[in-house]
């Protein structure tokens, strides 16, 4: 492998090694919820409540239209206040709640207590999401919190997340009943992915070949399919007198993959053509030769943020339609039976 190929490989290794912790923090920071705030007039308004949250978290966790929703309600009763944090999923279904019955009318105090609890919950959710989301949320499906949601009556008084203890310290007079907020279930439909990236191919010319590709695909929880288009930089194989043959690969590829957390195991099929021409000869001719390849791919995906991901892959290919290029009827290059490629991609997921 030449220097350029080696550089790409080293870059990929270092990149994926360094990406994990930083990417998880970035995803935690990117976690947002939509807020519905309903409180009596003597209570702080929504802006004041948001300010409490921002000061607690160091960022604004609220974004209109975010799929996770939290409803903050403070309802006055006779000489008392009833506070409630209620979580709903993307379809609006109830997903968990925490109540704050307070036997005073100090709504400022209650709002501060609820804000603190909500900040802790958001932080916990963000952290959980950051560690569970690289596999597309599959791990979240089996998280204990999902059980809690479906068994709310029995679990409501039992589960006591850190939020409970913290809230109790904040206000010793506030009793808290908790159902922990949920991690939303994985969406049933496939994700659309689009991306592009370079690769280094061997067995395609006399020297490693640099290729670039664009691809699109659909990803389910355990399988994915991908369609890509690939083109190589021109490469020339020369004989002793300097004459040579120029080659450029143009390929369409289809891959069907098994998805195992961040790993991908795929079957591949490539079809296309090799554009060829003689160089530095007195009479030059050109040709297009069809190419069909089949093989397997092993890859790994590394999310970066909520939608962006990077992936690295290694292809092993059997060249089904081989070719020999000659000059003066003397072979200059014969495509070997086997080829391979090592590549890096960057892509975007669409829900």
């Amino acid at each position: 492998m030449n220097d350029r190929a080696g550089l790409i490989v080293r870059f990929g290794v270092v990149f994926f090694w360094a990406l994990g912790p930083a990417e998880a923090k970035a995803r935690a920071d990117a976690f947002t919820v939509s807020l519905e705030y309903d409180a009596s007039p003597e209570c702080p308004d929504v802006a004041a409540f948001r300010a409490v949250m921002i000061s607690r978290l160091g960022r604004d966790p609220f974004r209109d239209g975010a799929p996770d929703r939290v409803l903050v309600r403070i309802t006055p009763r006779r000489n008392a206040l009833d506070g409630r944090l209620e979580w709903r999923d993307v379809s609006g279904r109830w997903a968990g709640e925490q109540t704050f019955p307070l036997v005073t009318t100090d709504c400022v105090r209650l709002a501060r207590t609820m804000g603190f609890a909500l900040a802790v919950q958001i932080q916990l959710l963000a952290s959980a999401r950051a560690t569970s989301e690289p596999d597309g949320g599959a791990a979240a499906t089996n998280a204990p919190v999902a059980v809690h949601r479906d068994d709310r009556a029995s679990n409501r008084p039992v589960t006591t997340p850190p939020a409970t203890a913290i809230a109790s310290k904040e206000s010793s007079t506030v009793s808290v009943v908790v159902n922990p907020p949920p991690i939303p279930r994985q969406r049933p439909g496939p994700e659309l992915v689009l991306g592009a990236g370079p690769s280094v191919g061997v067995g395609m010319s006399s020297t490693p070949l640099l290729l670039g590709r664009v691809f699109g695909g659909l990803v389910w929880s355990h399988v994915s399919i991908e369609l890509g288009a690939e083109v190589s930089l021109p490469a020339t194989t020369r004989r002793a007198d300097g004459a040579g043959i120029f080659q450029q690969q143009l390929l369409l590829g289809l891959a069907g993959c098994a998805v195992l957390t961040r790993w991908r195991m795929c079957l591949l099929a490539n079809a296309g053509a090799v554009r060829m021409a003689g160089e530095e000869v007195d009479i030059s001719r050109s040709a297009m030769v069809p190419v069909v390849e089949a093989g397997a791919r092993v890859g790994a995906v590394q999310p970066v943020g909520r939608r962006v991901f990077l992936s690295a892959y290694l292809d092993g290919l059997i060249v089904l339609s081989r070719w020999t290029a000659t000059l003066d009827h003397v072979p200059v290059w014969t495509a070997p039976r086997f080829a391979g490629a090592l590549g890096l991609d960057a892509g975007v997921r669409f829900p």
Binding site: D241, I245, D328
Partner: protein, 337 residues
């Protein structure tokens, strides 16, 4: 052995079988993407490497042309083989002359000038059965040099060229040592005369080893250059002052008065035919009329034959070659003191 490991082995065998099966069903296509075409009328040109072969170093400019062309666009000079002939029977004197030329060239800044190789071997003798294969080889140094150079440098599309200015003994000897050499070598000879029906392989050079002539014309791709010119015009006395002031210029100046005033001695025509595409003006395809008889004093006659295996240069123009000679001689590499 549990069920899981058994299943894994079965899967591995299945994958292996699939890979082998898929690998076995491929197809192969061949595309020819170009070809080289000789730059002149002959099958070789300045891109072919050459081995020079001659006897004496003083009667013509063959060595000087070959050395200068090798330093100015080709052909590349990869070997110099020195042998003997009737007029020049002293191998030591012959080799000494060539060594002096090589030393002068190197002293003049010229590169790619190989050391001359002394080749010992008498003219070949026609065997009683008239079969080439029955001819005892000399196994001469010159023949070995040809075999070695061809093995190293000859390519299917660009064979080695043996350029001769004397007898063809060593060329035929190389064939007797290894008959496959003919696939890797083209012979271009300054030799004989053009006739109304083709060419005769007599003087100059053809009369020196008639049986070798017969072997070479029958087995090799052969070019006979029988178009000579007045070689006194190459370096006339009036141009001697233009020679570079270095050992090679001094060598040419010293040699100039002794150049033979005989066009047929201008062995450099074979070098010109390879190195200058415009040199050969008229070329015929010829074939051997008949095998030489026992006791023949010349090689076989060549007769015009559009489908003949050999080439015969009947007319030439030396103008461009002579211009190249002086141009390269005047280049900075050869004018440095």
């Amino acid at each position: 052995m549990n069920a899981s490991s058994s299943s894994n082995r079965s899967a591995a065998r299945g994958v292996t079988a699939l890979v082998v099966a898929v690998a076995g069903i491929g197809c192969m296509e061949t595309r020819d993407l170009g070809s080289t075409v000789p730059h002149g009328l002959l099958p070789v040109d300045e891109r072919n490497p050459i081995v020079l072969m001659n006897d004496n170093a003083f009667d013509n400019w063959q060595g000087e042309y070959a050395i200068l062309f090798a330093n100015g666009g080709g052909p590349n000079l990869v070997g110099i083989v020195v042998n003997t002939s009737g007029p020049w029977p002293d191998i030591n004197a012959n080799v000494a002359g060539w060594r002096a030329m090589v030393a002068a060239a190197r002293g003049g800044g010229l590169r790619n000038v190989p050391d001359p190789i002394a080749s010992i071997g008498p003219p070949l003798t026609r065997p009683g059965d008239g079969q080439f294969a029955s001819t005892p080889p000399n196994r001469s140094e010159g023949a070995r040099a040809i075999l070695d150079a061809a093995a190293r440098l000859s390519l299917p599309y660009r064979p080695l060229v043996v350029v001769t200015g004397g007898r063809l003994t060593d060329v035929a000897d190389a064939y007797l040592m290894d008959p496959t050499i003919t696939d890797r070598v083209v012979v271009v000879s300054s030799l004989g005369t053009a006739t109304s029906s083709g060419a005769a392989m007599g003087a100059p050079n053809g009369e020196m080893d008639p049986w070798a002539d017969a072997i070479v014309t029958a087995r090799y791709r052969f070019v006979q250059v029988s178009a000579f010119y007045d070689q006194l015009s190459d370096v006339p006395g009036s141009r001697v002052p233009e020679l570079p002031s270095n050992p090679f210029g001094d060598w040419i100046a010293a040699k100039q008065p002794n150049i033979w005033n005989l066009p047929q001695s201008a062995d450099q025509v074979a070098v010109m035919a390879v190195g200058t595409p415009t040199f050969a003006v008229a070329v015929e395809r010829v074939s051997v009329a008949a095998l030489v008889a026992r006791g023949a004093t010349t090689g076989p006659d060549l007769v015009a034959d559009p489908n003949g295996p050999a080439w015969l240069v009947t007319q030439s123009t030396s103008v461009v070659a002579v211009q190249r000679f002086w141009q390269i001689l005047g280049s900075p590499a050869t004018t440095a003191p």
